[in-house]
Symmetry: C2
Subunit: 261 residues, 2 copies
Amino acid sequence: MGGGRIDVYMDIVSLYSYLAFLDLQQNGELLRAHNVEVEFHPVLLGAIVVGSGNKPPWTLPAKAVYFAHDVRRSIARFPGLVIQTPKDLMAVSKNIIPNRALHFIKSHHPPSTFLTILHYFMYLFWSPPNLDLTLPENVAKALLECPADFDGSIAAQGSEGVDKKKKKLFTKEQVEEIMKGTETPQIKEALKNTTQEALDKGAFGNPWIWVTDGKGRQEPFFGSDRFHFVYKFLGLPYQDVTLLPPGGRLVLSEGEDTAKL
Amino acid sequence: MGGGRIDVYMDIVSLYSYLAFLDLQQNGELLRAHNVEVEFHPVLLGAIVVGSGNKPPWTLPAKAVYFAHDVRRSIARFPGLVIQTPKDLMAVSKNIIPNRALHFIKSHHPPSTFLTILHYFMYLFWSPPNLDLTLPENVAKALLECPADFDGSIAAQGSEGVDKKKKKLFTKEQVEEIMKGTETPQIKEALKNTTQEALDKGAFGNPWIWVTDGKGRQEPFFGSDRFHFVYKFLGLPYQDVTLLPPGGRLVLSEGEDTAKL
């Protein structure tokens, strides 16, 4: 039963992409149990916003005020997650180098390595003191320092949380190879093409989630708050938002299928 | 424990307001059990969009395509709900007369009467054959024909579902009084002031949900899909969107508080 794919087009400069990533990571085991594959595709959010004719929500004053509420509430769904918006978000958002590095790593390293560095880049961008990843030297430094077992756990939040002595994800040679890779035509094209692919699939923002169900049907989902719709589309069992009676709580029933997990 | 208020600023021409209304009606008993009061405030959506400098999402082509998905998925959360968008939505959206009528009814009739006619107006506007409520004669006809026990149940969906012989919500004299009321300065001001109130509370769209918790703290919530945030803000027990294991389901635990309901 079930089965399908979730393709996430996302830029590390999109906070809601980071939250969607965390949600999908948290539900990773369950999604695998339902035979649903998840793949992340780095894109340039700026090119998607421009290409679709959209404008960032904060360009309207009333929306900017409201979105500050929505962002705070959305972050609060991930206990322990420390987020600080970079001071000059627009300036540090032209993250071409790290997105190219991600494409190189995706095509030259195992999927788990790609997921670890993707997570680490988002963590460095969104956690204080907010590393500026538009600078190639900062990207190289981040690649060198990324712990092999980085999982964004609470202890690692805040820049002091990263233990410099831990086993690293990449060797110095691998980092050099990755940084060289960001200058190759293939990798430049890969980032451009993936961004265009998202636009062709209707994207006007990030994360743009393209879902394929077990029968091959495909639909787009936008943002980090549409997973109830994604689960329904994939035919997966889920509980929607439910107000409970005073003192009430929901518990998972012990079915025979459940016992297998 | 609990307690608080949910003030919903909404226009009958806003489909997401209709869905928020249905959600709050479905959870009406539970909200009362938590001592949460719900009040609906008719406003002019057009004036809020213009007043905040916003644009409707369908003015961007990529958003229009995506929102058709989102609308369909949002409607599907209410089994049996039949929705048809009016052919010329912009033209029939200047619903000044029915919104004034709602303000008159709100201040001259019991709350249950107000909720019934509010529901009936949205039903007539959004169900085929989509009554044009910009015309005063259609508003008067709708007021005259509204069944006293209209609750939007599935049998009543589609225009043939309304039994013309049923007891009516208003007498002919009451309808005349309501229609006259829509031309009074007090009612004209009431609609204007309520719309301005929503703008002052940060609205850039509908439904604009202004929530006050048991301690008097207030925050805005936008749309029909933020009730998990509303429940959290009010300190109510709720289940958030949850992916379940294969064959899994959630059941309400039998606590002593639960038994009271």
